[in-house]
Each structure stands twice: as C-alpha cells, then as structure tokens.
C-alpha cells in the first residue's frame, strides 16, 4: 500500500563496513555518534543491516541499544536532548538529510516497543488506524484480517474485533502491536525488547512469528535474552558502552567470537 519512492542508489558504496552477508544492506549506520547532552550513548558505530534477515542487537544494560535502534527510524527526534552525528542510510538515502520527512521514514520503518502500547480503541481500529491516516483506500476488513493473521492473532480475536484492545492479555497486546506495524506494510520492523514483558509461552509465539515474517520483512531486534538472540537471529551485533564491539553471523558471534568482551558477554560472564 505504501510504495517505496526512494531510489536505490549508492547503497553498497556508502557502507564502510562490508556486510557479512550476500544480501545487500537495507539500513546502515556510518560513524554514528549519539549524545544526550554531553554524554555519548552511541559512539562511532558502523553497521550494515542485511535485508530480509533478523539482526539482533545485544549488550549490557545502558550500552545504547535502544538509542541505536531509535536512530533507524528517527524516533530520537522526540528526545529533545539527543544529538546525532554521522549518518544513517536507508536503501542508500540519508535519513537525516534536510529534505527527509521523518513521518515518511516511519511509514516504511515500523517499530514495536518494549511494553505493549495498543491504542484505547477497538482491536480492528488499532490495526486500521495507521493505514487510514496514511491514505489507505481499500477494504478495511480485509486489511485487519490479513494483519492479524500474519501476527498469528486472528483465531484468538476474530469474534471480538470491535472490543477494546485493552481487554487483551499482554502477549496478545504485543502481537496486536506487531500486527499494527505489519498493516503499514513496512520495509523494516524495529523491535525493542518485544518480549521482555511477556511470559515464556507468549515469547515463544512471538519468536515463531518473527521467524515466519523474516522472509517478508527485515527485522532488527534488541534483546537482553541471549537464548532468544541465538534462536531467532541471523546476525548479531554486540554493543558495549556505546561502541560496536562485534558484528557477524549469529552462529559465529556465539560460538567463535573474535573479541574477548563478546565471548565473556555471551557466556554470561558480565552484563
């Protein structure tokens, strides 16, 4: 429904660090530094997120994972004291260029938050609201059904689409938030610890869901859960104190890390 207008130009050339995969990077940070006031939260990060893969960002608490993730769809714009240096490109386009509308960016790069945050509207309205404000003209019922099916929530809620989303369980609410993001037909979905407020069963369902979705979307997930990162992701980035310590295929990062700090962290020796 939302067509990608930005053209693919110099995407590969713009990335300083070679992507460890064959698929081209869809998002890339170049020498990205983000400060809150004077205090840097992300320092000179270069990373290329491969398309149609799941990339996990791991690291100890306060190392800048959420800050980095928010830079990918300009949600840091809403933190007044955040200052950004360096660049982020999306399919080769600089997201922080003068003439870029952050609203357009977020239509293509969706986000799921740590705590489920459904709108206090009906289940159906939660899904259809985003497309509606963005000029969706098609069949709303179909849109809702498709999104809910993709998020594996349809069977549980199909009989109460007009009831308030607040009546759902936490895990259902989080899947609704994922469905809401999917209904926008985004290119990329950013997830900031999407399972941290959920029980193991709901977590497992969301992990299955991510697995199914990765053929259609690019997913970047921040997680504190090592097993989760190992289970679901194709690539893993390890951040420490704002710096990107290691980035590579998940299997390699977890089994044969190149850096001692990564080794200690994934082995649970610090963080």
């Amino acid at each position: 429904m939302v067509t990608v207008k930005v053209t693919e130009t110099t995407s590969a050339a713009a990335v300083t660090q070679p992507s460890p995969s064959a698929s081209p990077p869809i998002l890339a940070a170049q020498d990205l530094t983000i400060r809150y006031g004077e205090k840097p939260a992300v320092v000179s990060v270069n990373v290329a997120i491969p398309e149609n893969r799941i990339t996990a960002i791991i690291g100890p608490s306060g190392c800048g994972k959420s800050t980095l993730l928010r830079a990918f769809n300009r949600m840091n714009d809403y933190i007044p004291e955040a200052r950004i240096d360096g660049g982020v490109t999306y399919r080769g386009r600089d997201l922080y260029a003068e003439n870029v509308d952050p609203v357009e960016v977020r239509r293509r790069i969706g986000m799921v938050f740590q705590k489920p945050n459904p709108f206090p509207k009906s289940i159906a309205k939660n899904i259809s609201w985003g497309p509606a404000i963005n000029g969706f003209r098609g069949d709303e019922r179909l849109l809702v059904e498709e999104a809910l099916k993709k998020a594996v929530l349809w069977d549980e809620v199909k009989d109460r689409l007009n009831e308030s989303a607040n009546a759902l369980s936490g895990g259902q609410q989080q899947r609704l938030c994922i469905a809401r993001a999917l209904a926008m037909e985004p290119d990329v979905i950013l997830m900031d610890e999407p399972c941290s407020a959920l029980d193991p069963v709901s977590t497992a369902r969301i992990e299955d869901l991510m697995y199914e979705l990765k053929h259609l979307y690019t997913i970047v997930i921040v997680t504190h859960n090592m097993q989760q990162a190992a289970r679901v992701s194709d690539f893993t980035a390890f951040l420490d104190a704002g710096r990107l310590v290691e980035f590579g295929e998940t299997e390699q990062v977890f089994t044969t890390p190149k850096d001692k700090r990564t080794e200690d962290y994934v082995a649970g020796r610090f963080g």
């Binding site: 007044p80 977020r106 709108f119």
Partner: protein
C-alpha cells in the same frame, strides 16, 4: 532448641505510648473533617429550610415555569425562568469563547510548546485564574462593552454578551490547564506508538491523545460550566439587573447570582417574601452546580479507571 527459641522471642506487643499518640492524631484529624462537613451541611440545611418558607407562599410550579420575575415590584411575579435564562446565556457565551480557545491552548502547551515556553505560559495562566472576578466585571463594562457597541451599536451598556465574554476569559485558564493535564496524563508510550506508525503530531493529538483524554477534557468543560453558573461579581457588574427572558446577547439581563447580590445588598426588609426569594434562587443554583459537579465527577472517574 525450645529454650533457644524462647530466649529469642520477638516482642510484637503494641506499645501503649505509640497507640495513644496515633489515637490522638486520628481523633483531631477526624474533628477537623467533621467540622468542615458539618458547616457545609449546615449551610445547605439553612438554604433549603428558608427556601421551604418561600414555597409556602409560592407554588414550586409557578417558581420553576413562570416567565416573569418581579418579586420586588407590583404586580409581583415569581417565575425564575428569566434568571435561569440569563445565567444560561452567560454560560453559553463563556463556553463559545473558552472551550475552543482553552482546548487549543492546551494542545499547544502539551504537544508543541518547548519546555521553556511552557514554563512561562503555565504560571501566566495560573495568575490569570487568580485575578479577582470583580476586576473582570469592570473590564467588561469599560472595555468590552464599548468595543461591542462599535461593532453592533444597539448593544446596551449592560449586556449579556460582554458578561459572557469576560466570564469566558475568566474560565479559559482553568480549561487550558485541566486539558493540558489530561493530555499529559495519556501515557507517553501511546504517543510514541502513534508517531512510529507515521502519524503527524496533529494526527496523533486529534485522533489518539484527545480520545484517550476525552473524559478528562469533558470533565474540565463541565467544571468550567459549573463555575460560570456560580460566578457572581463579574456578571453582577456587567450583565445588568433586568430579569429578561431573552436570547439576545445585546440586551441587559440578570443572572441568578446577580439577583442574589442585588437583594442581599439592597434594602429589602428581612422576613418578607421578597427576601426569601434569594433562598429559593440560591437553592436552585446549588442544585444546578451540584448537578454539573456530579457529572464532572462521574466523567473523571471513568477517566481514572482507564489509566490508573
């Protein structure tokens, strides 16, 4: 083992001194609460007692549905509708001014203003809310009315429109401040969630934040209306003293509160029927503001259930 446990016995007995002190504190707090409740109850009882005296001579029907209010002049007539109409005219004028402006002001403050602007605007609004209302009355008389007369020459010196306008200005800070609080009480996560779906700030405000804060916003309107109904000095000064069943805001009218002021300050002898009218009007006024406050309370209650 048993003896060791015995020697380690933990003292859980209540201490006499502590208990007495707590008791004294609770008793004195209770007394204070009781005094304030008894005073209010006493006032209400007197109000209705005296009003009951009035209704021995005038039927409730005549009072509520009569269309002429001339209790102090011959031929005497005790229909309260002109006063109610005058009050509602002022309330309507005030709402037309204050509701859109106040809401817009709240949207600006909560969503668009920088922290610095907000730190200046919010106290200014609070100062505005603290101006004695009689000042608003004279402001209406000396500034708003001449202005209205320039636009519409038939406007009388005392008129409903200027009273409505200044009462509107008067309640604007209250609406702005309450709506600002209501909008800010909506969890930040909802706002961010909506923004992350590619919504503009305006779309987020109008379609997510306002619906989410709706009960708080409506409650602020109802409380403001209740304040308009009960407002005295500004309307007594600006609206005139002519009970008048009219919807024309350029005419002179009298509100319920305006009438009570007139009689209590005038030379109507105590004990006459004319004097008792103020209790009847007062009782009706009390019921009207009580009703609006109860509505506001119900609406706010719903709001709390959703978010706390």
């Amino acid at each position: 083992m048993a003896s060791a446990a015995g020697s380690l016995a933990i003292d859980l007995d209540a201490k006499r001194g502590v208990r007495l002190r707590e008791g004294a504190v609770v008793a004195s707090l209770f007394t204070c609460a009781l005094i304030s409740i008894l005073t209010s109850a006493g006032i209400v009882i007197v109000l209705f007692w005296e009003a009951a005296g009035f209704f021995k001579s005038v039927s409730l029907w005549e009072f509520l549905f009569g269309t002429r209010w001339t209790p102090l002049l011959e031929p005497r007539s005790y229909g309260v509708l002109p006063l109610v109409c005058g009050t509602l005219l002022v309330v309507a004028g005030a709402c037309v001014i204050a509701i859109p402006t106040g809401l817009a002001c709240a949207i600006y403050m909560s969503q668009y203003a920088s922290d610095r602007t907000r730190r200046i605007v919010k106290p200014v609004l609070e100062v505005l809310a603290g101006i004695p209302t009689v000042v608003y009355g004279y402001f209406a008389l000396t500034y708003v009315t001449p202005l209205l007369q320039q636009v519409y020459p038939d406007t009388l010196v005392y008129n409903a429109a200027s009273a409505g306008i200044v009462v509107g200005i008067m309640i604007l800070p209250m609406i702005a401040s309450f709506c600002d609080d209501a909008l800010r009480a909506v969890p930040e996560s909802l706002r961010l969630g909506a923004l992350a779906l590619g919504a503009t700030r305006f779309e987020v405000t109008v379609q997510v934040l306002i619906p989410a804060a709706l009960s708080g916003i409506i409650a602020s309107f109802v409380l403001a209306i209740s304040r308009c109904i009960g407002e005295t000095m500004a309307v007594a000064v600006a609206a005139g003293g002519t009970p008048n069943l009219t919807l024309n805001p350029a005419e002179s009218i009298q509100t319920m509160t305006g009438y009570i002021v007139q009689v209590s300050m005038g030379d109507t002898p105590h004990g006459t029927l004319g004097y008792y009218t103020i209790f009847a009007v007062g009782a009706l006024l009390f019921l009207m503001t009580l009703g609006t406050n109860l509505i506001a309370d119900r609406v706010l209650h719903r709001f709390r259930e959703t978010y706390e």
